[in-house]
Symmetry: C2
């Protein structure tokens, strides 16, 4: 696939104006754009502007309620449950994490479960919000079921990612990972490149290992069976029961504690996704002098990075490093956008009476 | 290896008397015995009476301080930090989880970080304590470093297990798993059976994949390099960065937030292990009517179990089921104990002026 590199600030302005055309407030446009482009800056293309067409369709079809009126269902000094009223996932999620942060600053900890929401972009964005306030941040979401329990053959769990951020020097720790062996996007990349899937990533409609990305993806779309293995694979040999269990835990916090739906019940009713989320912030001053804790954690991360490398390897990463390096590089030199995505952006612009040409350098061809 | 089956109640009485001989109080003897035998009942032999000899040595050498005076370093309505004063891990951990439970009942959540402790047995025991009080329970511990970061070749992280329990019908959910692909005990089983390790479990001193259990274990003992891969393996292909990151997160909560030491600094000074733990309890009434939440989670677990099975499979488990079934069976028909362990028990009994013959049926041969 071929890519064009677009300047970050122009892409940002384009997204802002797109979401303004749907009728979102200026603040909400900024939120959605910021989450989307954070993914692109981090190098997580699957969750960046590549998703604009999906959001466009969901907003137009009413799956996303652009005049949503989220309600706090219940609240304590350390917790809240929110019904998102089918809001744009990014909008309600930023508010939910802000609520968790406010509670953490007042009570030491804040936990917010959200039901009746939509896709919220990258989980790491919200965990990082807490970290930027010098708190521990944790965030989880369920997603449409594409993960198959070990010894099973029907997708029952979402990719159900867990993100955790914690302040550190020289850069915060930022973990953000699906509890399936890979996210759906990885299968799609193999599919587009016509490469067989690695052994152990996916199972077919009979629950047998499969390397056929095309078949797996098609069957997921029509819910015929099969899907992606949990982290650790489809049996206990490499700990598949662990990834499977982590997926269940994410659904406990998101689908169950929010009073919403678990992965296996998402996207089943027309006009709604029923996605649920969970946000947590902890003021780690609860446990001691913050500068000492931060220093101790920074030292540990440095010791990991500086530990001896395997033969042929030159670097050991800690989580977040790759993303921050990617962000610095892409802010300076632009974001590579797939030409297919560019064409979708043109389509969206036309539908909203915007002109891509007003945003992007003339040497970019939209063909 | 050959096994003898011992009645549960006699084994229980034996352990009680062994720990009484070391000078532990009646309550503490019960705690230690209960945690130990819970592992055997659950079928987790590696953490059961098989560990008696290790505890015996640690108590005698002073690694475990039998007259420990743990101190609460700091405390809030939702948190505490405890210095265990090198207490027996089970004793301080039960108290720490009781503290978390008390706080959760009063404030909705309780978090307790413990430093300067020792091996505490199975993590699941403490998570389950909260679940038996109709709370969500979470428990983590670091352990001596045997896990190698991806792209590394030196063990820097413990098996760093995470346990989470939540009430459900017909039985509670109980997740308890190392963040390494397997715990050390699994390597030892392959070693004893002289079987090559499965690909991807371990790396040698150069950070290359190895199937040689003998070599890996020997090198771990002398800290020559190499060790066990994270959950997901030694590269990113199967998500090794995820297991590696989860191991870091466990050390953040345990080693860092407790003000103690991270995995890579454990067992380095003579006379102490420096192990740290983290305990969390949440009163999930924070999120809604408890019976409704429990029912929703129970339904989800049932849907997973009842989902279609892969070809050749007859059952999909949810976490805890295997352990509860094993417990019921072993309570009724006894606990199989390795003859090597039986010999160690005889040795311990002799050193403590106890007689195994006073506890076990005469038809068990101790040879």
């Amino acid at each position: 696939m071929s890519y064009k590199t677009l300047p970050y600030d122009r892409l940002y302005r384009f997204c802002l104006d797109v979401f303004a055309q749907y009728g979102f407030s200026a603040v909400d446009c900024e939120t959605i754009t910021d989450v989307l482009l954070c993914a692109d800056l981090f190098g997580i293309e699957s969750h960046g502007v590549q998703r604009l067409i999906r959001y466009h369709n969901e907003i137009n079809s009413g799956v996303v309620n652009r005049s949503a009126a989220p309600r706090i269902i219940s609240e304590t000094p350390v917790s809240a449950v929110i019904d998102a009223d089918k809001a744009m996932g990014q909008v309600i999620s930023r508010r939910a994490m802000e609520t968790a942060i406010t509670k953490a600053k007042a009570s030491g900890i804040g936990m917010v479960a959200v039901r009746n929401s939509n896709h919220y972009g990258i989980a790491g964005y919200y965990a990082d919000m807490a970290s930027r306030e010098d708190l521990l941040g944790l965030c989880m979401t369920n997603t449409e079921a594409i993960g198959v329990p070990i010894y099973g053959k029907r997708a029952m769990l979402g990719t159900n990612p867990i993100a955790l951020a914690f302040p550190a020097e020289p850069a915060p720790f930022l973990y953000d990972a699906a509890t399936t062996v890979v996210p759906r996007g990885k299968l799609e990349v193999y599919h587009k490149n016509e490469k067989p899937l690695p052994d152990g990533w996916a199972v077919d409609v009979q629950g047998r290992g499969s390397n056929d990305a095309d078949e797996i993806i098609k069957n997921l779309i029509v819910k015929a069976g099969g899907g992606i293995a949990p982290l650790g694979g489809s049996s206990e040999l490499y700990g598949g029961h662990k990834g499977y269990g982590l997926g269940i835990i994410v659904d406990l916090f998101c689908g169950v504690l929010s009073g919403g739906k678990t992965s296996n019940h998402l996207n089943l009713e027309p006009g709604r996704t029923d996605i649920t989320h969970f946000f947590l912030a902890i003021d780690y001053a609860l446990f001691g002098e913050k500068s000492v804790i931060r220093e101790s954690f920074s030292t540990f991360l440095r010791e990991l990075r500086e530990s001896p490398k395997a033969d042929g390897q030159t670097r050991i990463y800690t989580h977040g490093e790759k993303e921050y390096e990617s962000r610095a590089e892409k802010r300076a030199s632009g974001i590579p956008v797939n030409v297919k995505t560019l064409r979708e952006m043109q389509e969206i612009a036309a539908a909203l009476s915007l002109r891509c040409e007003d945003y992007f350098p003339p040497d970019i061809e939209f063909k």
